[in-house]
């Protein structure tokens, strides 16, 4: 039988019916809704970032205007006593939204992506402007197109491919079919290729429509190459599942057996292993206690306030060039606050390092689970591609803290000396700029598990092919 004839009959028998159309419609609905929800979240993040940038720019514009008045001696009686204090300089910081950010919400609904950097606040409170997102929605996990693919693409493949041989077996057609085709392997792979391709092409085409419909925040030209990487990841994921289903189908058991086995594998690989893996990683490498971090910070704050004079003296000893401006109207609480905040940050730096250490250890443990389940690797990869992974957010927080520390180092002496900074100095300050790791570099941690699972897929293909040689309609 010609390939095209096989495809024609497969289309007729498998896909040209109401049940199949309903399944595809529902799946498309899930993908499009996921795309819509992801876009809505992205639009919201962008508008928050824009509003934040505008608010900070406006407040710094006012601050600069006041400073200029002070420098020009213009209406100084209306100005605040802290005009020109480096403490009051606020920087806008945000995590830039990647071109395919709408494709996976990732951790962006939970972790900070925008915030003011100010040396009034210690690191522990740098991003403590709490978000009020619906905790039930957070607990259940956002619904985006990537999540829809990870959860439901394997199910769709199972539904359409599980019975590529078992349908004939269960209907007692297998004997006749084998006699007619003689080479069952060829028929198996032709049917299989067609069915799996229909599902995968449908998924990718739907995703492409989502890509087009959701374009707006980024140029389509910027989104397309990233979409290519996304599509490749999805294709790899689909391929793994296709080969797994083919292997189970090649055992020539009944359709029921196939469904139950594949469903068990789906539950295990897509839900249980990822969840169990993260639970085990958390248990083995728990993050240091944030409450202990807070307690430590408060204790240091308390102690610093009690020995404020000593702390100030120590600072002056470290900066012998400093001359405190005794004429300054800057209230003492300003320099006190700076000294307290710097001391707290210094004291709690090891705790922050311990946090980062435990996160790294956990990532290492979880990378092992990436070898056990494609959902683990693909989930991480799709979040990374969308730029909404934990790693990228943590990098943003680290850079924000570092920026704050650098600024504190730069202006600390002026603050303690109660010196105002000049408008020229303010204008020379660089703004926060997130230093991005290239996408392919970020995907580096996913490469080895993906290669392993790719090899596994090829192995399953070869094994299935081998098993198909000996298929008989008689099983005993």
């Amino acid at each position: 039988m010609k390939l095209i004839e096989t495809f024609r009959y497969e289309w007729r028998i498998q896909f040209r019916n109401l049940a199949a159309a309903t399944v595809f419609l529902v799946f498309a609905g899930l993908l499009f809704y996921g795309g819509f929800a992801g876009k809505a979240e992205l639009d919201e993040r962008i508008s928050i970032i824009e509003a934040h940038d505008v608010a900070v720019a406006e407040s710094m514009e006012t601050w600069l205007s006041d400073l200029r008045k002070l420098e020009q001696g213009d209406n100084t009686e209306t100005l605040s006593p802290t005009t020109g204090s480096a403490m009051d300089v606020v920087f806008a910081s945000s995590l830039p939204q990647e071109p395919l950010s709408d494709f996976a919400v990732g951790q962006s609904d939970l972790l900070p992506f925008v915030g003011e950097i100010s040396i009034w606040e210690p690191d522990i409170r740098l991003f403590s402007k709490y978000e009020f997102a619906d905790p039930v929605g957070l607990a259940l996990g956002s619904f985006d197109i990537s999540k829809a693919v990870i959860l439901f693409l394997p199910l769709l493949l199972i539904v359409f491919c599980f019975d590529v041989i078992s349908a004939d077996r269960d209907s007692n057609r297998l004997g006749l079919t084998i006699l007619q085709i003689t080479n069952l392997r060829r028929l198996f792979w032709q049917r299989y290729l067609f069915r799996a391709s229909v599902v995968l092409v449908f998924t990718l085409v739907s995703a492409f429509f989502v890509l087009v419909l959701n374009s707006g925040n980024h140029a389509f030209g910027d989104r397309l190459p990233v979409f290519g990487i996304w599509a490749f990841s999805v294709l790899f994921y689909g391929m793994f599942w296709s080969m797994l289903i083919a292997l189970i189908a090649s055992f020539n058991r009944s359709g029921e057996f196939n469904i139950l086995t594949l469903l068990g594998l789906w539950v295990g690989l897509t839900l249980i292993i990822p969840a169990a893996g993260s639970s085990i990683a958390e248990t083995l490498y728990p993050t240091p206690s944030r409450l202990a971090y807070l307690a430590e910070a408060r204790e240091v704050e308390n102690e610093t306030r009690l020995r404020e004079a000593d702390v100030a003296n120590e600072f002056m000893l470290d900066h012998p060039e400093l001359l405190v401006n005794s004429d300054s109207e800057f209230p003492a609480r300003v320099s006190s606050a700076f000294l307290v905040t710097s001391t707290v940050d210094e004291a709690t730096r090891p705790i922050v390092a311990a946090f980062e250490g435990s996160l790294l250890e956990r990532e290492r443990v979880l990378s092992i689970f990436g070898y056990l389940s494609p959902a683990v690797g693909v989930h991480s990869a799709l979040n990374e591609i969308a730029g909404n992974s934990s790693r990228r957010h943590q990098s943003y927080l680290r850079q924000a803290r570092r920026f704050k520390a650098d600024y504190a180092l730069l202006v600390g002496p002026d603050v303690v000396a109660k010196q105002a900074i000049s408008s020229e100095f303010f204008e020379s300050l660089s703004q926060f700029q997130f230093m991005e790791d290239p996408l392919l570099g970020r995907l580096d941690q996913n490469i080895r598990p993906i290669i392993f699972l790719l090899s596994l897929s090829i192995g399953m293909l070869l094994l299935a092919n081998q098993r198909l040689k000996a298929i008989s309609p008689i099983t005993y």
Binding site: N17, L176, T177, Q180, S472
Partner: protein
């Protein structure tokens, strides 16, 4: 050799049970051989061994000189098969099912007129052929099964209880078709319970009991009652021997 189907000391064991014990059987071109026996006699096992659906424990089955187990693909090109239950695709019509299975064999790209001629040869009404198979009776399905075999134009035709569940008229029609095929050169091996039909169409009858071919005879010149007597005698003898 003129024997298209040949079994030499063909034996099949399933764990401790012997389903077929050292069968020696041949079916020549243009010959119809019927295997008679009760359930579990080994008739279906014999058919399945010739089809290559089972591997023999010892002995060998040959189709047109080729040993079945080591030449599966080649052998299956030379045989066609009608199972007891001809299962088709319920959502396709009879014509479409025939078209599909004929194309599967890769032998030719059939024209619709050819397919309809085949259906005519097996006596399936052309209007019925345009209906979906889920509405077909067993007899109609058997006819489609036979049409598929005809299209394959194979040297040997194996049938497993094709007449079970057919009414006398349909069974008669089917038997005549088989005889016609044999007359055209096809070797036919059929497993059946139906003593009457076996006598009507076959050149030789093999009586099987508990995996053994206990008697081979020609029904020529024999009446129905005699054949029945011989059959029952064999069944009784075998019981006494084993009892």
């Amino acid at each position: 050799m003129s024997e298209l189907l040949l079994a030499q000391a063909l034996t099949k064991k399933f764990q401790s049970k012997t389903a077929l014990h050292e069968l020696n059987l041949s079916v020549r071109r243009s010959e119809v051989v019927c295997l008679l026996g009760a359930n579990g006699a080994g008739k279906t096992t014999t058919i399945n061994l010739f089809l290559g659906f089972l591997k023999p424990t010892t002995g060998a089955a040959y189709v047109d000189g080729l040993e079945v187990s080591s030449n599966l693909d080649e052998v299956r090109k030379k045989i066609s098969y009608v199972p007891e239950q001809v299962s088709l695709y319920p959502s396709l019509t009879g014509l479409e099912n025939l078209d599909y299975f004929v194309k599967l064999s890769g032998k030719r790209q059939p024209h619709e007129s050819y397919l309809r001629e085949l259906l005519g040869r097996v006596g399936l009404d052309q209007i019925v052929a345009n209906n979906r198979v889920k509405s077909y009776s067993k007899g109609m399905r058997q006819k489609i099964g036979l049409a598929i075999s005809l299209a394959k134009d194979a040297k040997a035709l194996l049938l497993d209880e094709p007449l079970s569940g057919l009414d006398p008229s349909a069974a008669n029609e089917f038997s005549n078709l088989l005889r016609g095929l044999a007359d055209n050169g096809t070797a036919v091996l059929m497993a059946t319970h139906d003593l009457f039909r076996a006598k009507e169409i076959s050149d030789r009858i093999g009586i099987m009991k508990s995996g053994c071919l206990v008697q081979e005879l020609s029904p020529d010149g024999m009446d129905q009652a005699s054949l029945e007597e011989i059959y029952l005698e064999q069944m009784r003898n075998s019981d006494e021997t084993s009892g």
